[in-house]
């Protein structure tokens, strides 16, 4: 093992983020490859509620919970890969920051019936400079768009891979993750030669 002078008594953990709109199949995709059924953790959020009919000068605060679903793949005794789904509600952007920090890359899962629901995710990863790919989850009743049509609709860079997938299918999800890793590694080789 390539030692970087760090303490190897503990395993290394890495993560991949799975983003996309509500109901697009993020947890299904995570579950299709995870060695455990997807786990759920919750973050407590205290937010000032901004109801227009609040009494002036009285600030109400409400506590809500944001759920994160994630799965685990033990690559080796020294390396664990976690797959984290983003919260469905876009207003919890600060959670995206923690999710994206240190991530290897991201999969934006798209549903062609609601392609616009993945705009915020594409935007976020482009601005963060986190490598990502777009995987179009093929729902049975959805018209099958070609990957080039999806690329054009999302205005993606030519280098950003787009592929079709079935989030329920383990082999298909593996192909999605392999495609992401190739993209991440191509980008990191490019970065080192500049």
């Amino acid at each position: 093992m390539a030692s970087e002078g760090s303490d190897r008594r503990l395993t290394t953990a890495v993560k991949i983020v799975v983003a996309g709109g509500f109901g697009v199949g993020k947890t299904t995709l995570v579950g299709s490859v995870s060695e455990v059924p997807p786990l759920r953790t919750e973050e407590l959020i205290t937010e000032a509620s901004s109801r227009v009919d609040d009494l002036a000068g009285v600030e109400a605060k409400t506590t809500t919970t944001v759920a994160l679903d994630f799965g685990r793949i033990t690559i080796s005794p020294e390396l664990i890969l976690y797959l984290f789904g983003t919260p469905g509600q876009n207003r919890f952007w600060f959670m995206w920051d923690e999710l994206a920090r240190g991530a290897l890359g991201a999969v934006v899962l798209a549903d062609t019936r609601r392609l616009d629901s993945c705009f915020p995710a594409v935007d976020f990863f482009e601005r963060r400079g986190l490598p990502f790919i777009v995987a179009v989850n093929c729902f049975d009743d959805a018209y099958r768009y070609g990957t080039e049509e999806v690329r054009a609709a999302l205005d993606l860079d030519p280098q950003t891979p787009v592929l079709l997938c079935d989030a329920r299918d383990r082999e298909s999800t593996k192909q999605v993750l392999v495609t992401l890793m190739h993209h991440v590694m191509a980008g990191s080789r490019l970065a080192r030669t500049h």
């Binding site: 093992m1 390539a2 970087e4 303490d7 008594r9 503990l10 395993t11 290394t12 953990a13 890495v14 993560k15 490859v33 786990l39 759920r40 953790t41 919750e42 973050e43 407590l44 919970t65 994160l68 994630f70 685990r72 793949i73 690559i75 080796s76 390396l79 664990i80 890969l81 976690y82 984290f84 923690e98 999710l99 920090r101 240190g102 290897l104 383990r170 593996k174 993750l177 392999v178 890793m181 190739h182 991440v184 590694m185 990191s188 080789r189 970065a191």
Partner: protein, 120 residues
């Protein structure tokens, strides 16, 4: 004992932060979702552990991430971070942070992840 105020019990009887003595922030030691922790002792070896601390120590007998501890003992992330920080401070747990986020992951790690996914 059925009264119109029964709905009061919909809230947890013990508020989450009661576990941590009301503290919502810990020193946290940079604990992240995927920071790995592992127990140095079993709960039985430590006297006077609060139940939540004992549960956390129990699930950390094998290396486990902060997010998994939260999911397994069903406490919110911030609460779990405080509990784990305390256990680290008391020497019951050790932790390994994720790779520094300002560095790109090594080619070695990337290749190992790729190979691991292919083997699934």
């Amino acid at each position: 004992m059925s009264t119109p105020t029964e709905a009061w019990f919909d809230d947890p009887l013990v508020r989450p932060y009661a576990v941590t003595g009301g503290r919502t922030r810990s020193s946290q030691r940079g604990l992240d979702l995927i920071t790995l922790v592992v127990a140095m002792r079993t709960p039985a070896e430590v006297a006077d552990l609060q139940p939540e601390y004992a549960m956390a120590l129990q699930v950390c007998q094998q290396p486990i991430s902060v997010a998994e501890v939260s999911a397994k003992i069903d406490l919110p992330l911030q609460v779990v971070k405080v509990v784990l920080s305390d256990l680290i401070a008391q020497g019951h747990l050790i932790f390994r942070s994720a790779a520094p986020t300002n560095e790109a992951p090594s080619q070695y790690i990337l290749q190992a992840v790729l190979d691991g996914i292919r083997r699934l």
